[in-house]
């Protein structure tokens, strides 16, 4: 998702982009692509441990020491196997770490710097799965619910400052994360369209972005559905 957003950003104007990934070689593949698309764009890759608070803090300090950052997009995630999480607490813990704690740590590290500068935007990709726990994937949903609640709090903290926090909630999207859903025949939104909506939403200054937009309506229904009804749904 972040890769598709970056393609759209650099198509409009030259940018300076830093890709932070769990694997340098994989990030470099994305960087090479962006450089071909926009020779005037400068792309740098950094590898970091996504679950280490010290390293994340160090990364944010290092990036900001090179100058202020206009926009941070936090987009990582892993869709865990819910069944596996229920029988293996290690899997459960990892899923909560990478989908919940890790994005919060990144956002918190960058928020401090941005608040000091009184400018910048932090966009965090949460998920519609965080809006209400469902039996089919509530561990992932819990992690994303944490991200959602965190960004709400961050927005509260940053109100009245020049810094903006944006909460993005995609529905099921065709990305590497959802490969197995696709094999089961799930209908997934094309990632290019989702990215276009994200880029547009951020540019328009929106604070909560459901992508595709229909999910705002769907989740409104899901959130407010009475428990007796909800319990009968196999979702």
């Amino acid at each position: 998702m972040a890769e598709q957003c970056a393609r759209l950003w650099i198509a409009g104007a030259p940018h300076q982009i830093i890709l932070v990934g769990r694997n340098f070689a994989r990030a470099e593949v994305v960087a090479a692509d962006l450089r071909v698309r926009s020779p005037v764009t400068n792309v740098e890759c950094i590898e970091v441990d996504f679950c280490s608070p010290e390293k994340i803090q160090h990364l944010a300090d290092r990036i900001f020491s090179g100058g202020a950052v206009d926009l941070v997009l936090i987009a990582h995630g892993v869709l865990p196997d819910q069944q596996q999480c229920q029988i293996d607490l290690n899997a459960c813990g990892e899923a909560l770490d990478i989908n919940g704690i890790s994005p919060v740590l990144f956002a918190e590290a960058f928020a401090g710097h941005m608040e000091k500068n009184n400018s910048g935007t932090i966009a965090v990709i949460s998920s519609v799965a965080g809006d209400r726990g469902r039996r089919s994937n509530y561990v992932y949903g819990a992690a994303k619910g944490m991200v959602t609640r965190y960004v709400q709090g961050l927005q509260h903290r940053l109100s009245g400052t020049g810094v903006r926090a944006v909460l993005i909630k995609p529905g099921p999207t065709d990305t590497p994360m959802t490969l197995h859903l696709k094999q089961q025949g799930a209908r997934l939104a094309p990632v290019q369209r989702v990215a276009a909506d994200i880029v547009k939403g951020i540019a328009a200054g929106r604070l909560v972005i459901y992508v595709p937009a229909k999910w705002a309506l769907i989740m409104n229904v899901v959130r407010h559905m009475p428990k007796v009804l909800f319990d009968r749904l196999n979702i």
Partner: protein, 431 residues
């Protein structure tokens, strides 16, 4: 399992789709899930990209550019990149793809595997003629780098090899220098096949692009001849950027004897009135149908065939006349009728389609037995004339017809990857 169709929508069988997302993992994925066949945009019309009940390796996720040498116009990219994405990226920098088909919504891998051609075959050959090298992944884990001067036999098997030699992972493409996105295009009506041949022969040295639309109902061989050259102008019309989509699948084909006659006659007469020269954007010149999304739905739930044949030059006049007569007599056919001459450049691929001659392409709504009977008649004419059918379009030729018309098929078989199989390969080669 997911229902997958090809462009002709003749079938909608369940497939196991394995998406390839990274060129580093692709080898492992195909090894673990073989046998399968690569599936890009599903723009081949028949069964070349299908494997009912089996595995498809979806390549659209392999859509990264790797590097570009902007001085020499050489681009290296992954095989799932769309031709459209290349041209959008390079046109402002003075380069364009030298060969593209009638749609730019196809992948680089698909363009190589079908050795696609365009309106400029007489001047620039086919897509494979502009590939400087490619990486082929075999399902046993072997990686084969090949090109016109490097392990050439693998290159010639893979170009036009309908995906059967392995998975095309990356390619290096030689781009064509252009001064801008505009062409000077001219439309000339013609009333007979003789006139078409005169126009085609008279245009081949001065005009880089030539193609013609013909009226398949009239039987006389009337049509509109279109030719174009890139032109150095500082400004010109931009493509509208708008696209419409055929929103629903009509219960029956909207193409029938009535609409067909009215459309062909109207299209010819409007074209005749509008004949002349104009400056047009390359997108409107090359890909008029790309602005109508899902146009393949107009043929209804039974889908459609595209019959595309080539007949060698010496036999062409007579054979094309016979084909046109047979089509007109059948009352079948469609609006999308194309007649074009190929140049005398020999294709590199062992199973490449183009040869020095004339190609005819025409859509036919699937009307079951009647359509098949007509195709058998057309096959007889094509076979007699020493021609062949285009694998990218074919869904129904027989194995014996394939073997008789693709003389290098035996040689090709030795380069097949035993872990790659498609509905087409089983139909035409037994496995």
């Amino acid at each position: 399992m997911v229902a997958v169709t090809s462009w002709g929508r003749l079938s909608s069988a369940d497939h196991l789709v394995a998406s390839l997302r990274s060129r580093f993992d692709a080898g492992e994925v195909i090894k673990a899930t073989k046998p399968g066949i690569a599936y890009g945009m599903g723009r081949s019309y028949g069964d070349a990209c299908l494997n009912p009940g089996g595995v498809l390796w979806e390549t659209r996720g392999l859509d990264r550019f790797i590097r570009i040498d902007i001085e020499r116009g050489r681009l290296v990219c992954e095989a799932g990149v769309l031709l459209r994405d290349i041209q959008e990226m390079t046109i402002a920098r003075g380069w364009i793809l030298p060969v593209t088909p009638g749609t730019q919504l196809v992948t680089v891998g698909g363009a190589i595997a079908n050795d696609i051609h365009g309106k400029n075959h007489h001047s620039r050959g086919s897509f494979g003629d502009h590939i400087l090298g490619l990486t082929l992944l075999r399902t046993d884990g072997e990686v084969i780098e090949c090109g016109p001067h490097l392990r050439r036999e693998w290159f010639c098997a893979t170009v036009g090899g309908v995906g059967l030699t392995g998975l095309i992972l990356t390619a290096e493409i030689q781009l064509q220098r252009v001064s801008g996105p505009w062409l000077n295009a001219e439309t000339i009506p013609y009333q007979s096949l003789d006139e078409f041949f005169e126009l085609a022969d008279g245009s081949s040295s001065e005009w880089e692009h030539t193609v013609s639309w013909f009226d398949c109902v009239s039987g006389a061989g009337r049509g509109l001849f279109i030719r174009g050259n890139y032109v150095d102008v500082s400004s010109g019309p931009e493509p509208s950027g708008r696209s419409i989509s055929v929103p629903v699948l009509p219960p029956v084909s909207v193409v029938n004897a009535l609409t067909l006659r009215a459309f062909n006659s109207g299209y010819f007469n409007i074209g005749r009135l509008r004949a002349g020269c104009s400056v047009v954007h390359y997108e409107s010149f090359f890909y008029p149908l790309d602005s109508i999304l899902k146009w393949n739905r107009i043929y209804g739930p039974k889908g459609f065939f595209q019959y595309q044949c080539v007949v060698p030059r010496l036999a062409a006049k007579e054979a094309i006349a016979d084909i046109l007569k047979a089509i007109a007599k059948s009352g079948l056919g469609s609006f999308l009728a194309v007649l074009k001459t190929f140049g005398n450049r020999e294709s590199q691929g062992m199973l490449s389609f183009p040869c020095h001659g004339v190609t005819l392409a025409l859509d036919f709504p699937n009307k079951g037995k009647n359509t098949e009977l007509l195709f058998n008649r057309l096959d007889a004419i094509v076979g007699e004339a020493g021609g062949r059918l285009y694998l990218a379009k074919d869904a129904r030729m027989t194995r014996s017809f394939f073997e008789a018309t693709y003389p290098r098929f035996q040689e090709f078989l030795t380069y097949r990857d035993p872990g790659v199989s498609s509905a087409m390969s089983r139909r035409l080669m037994g496995y």
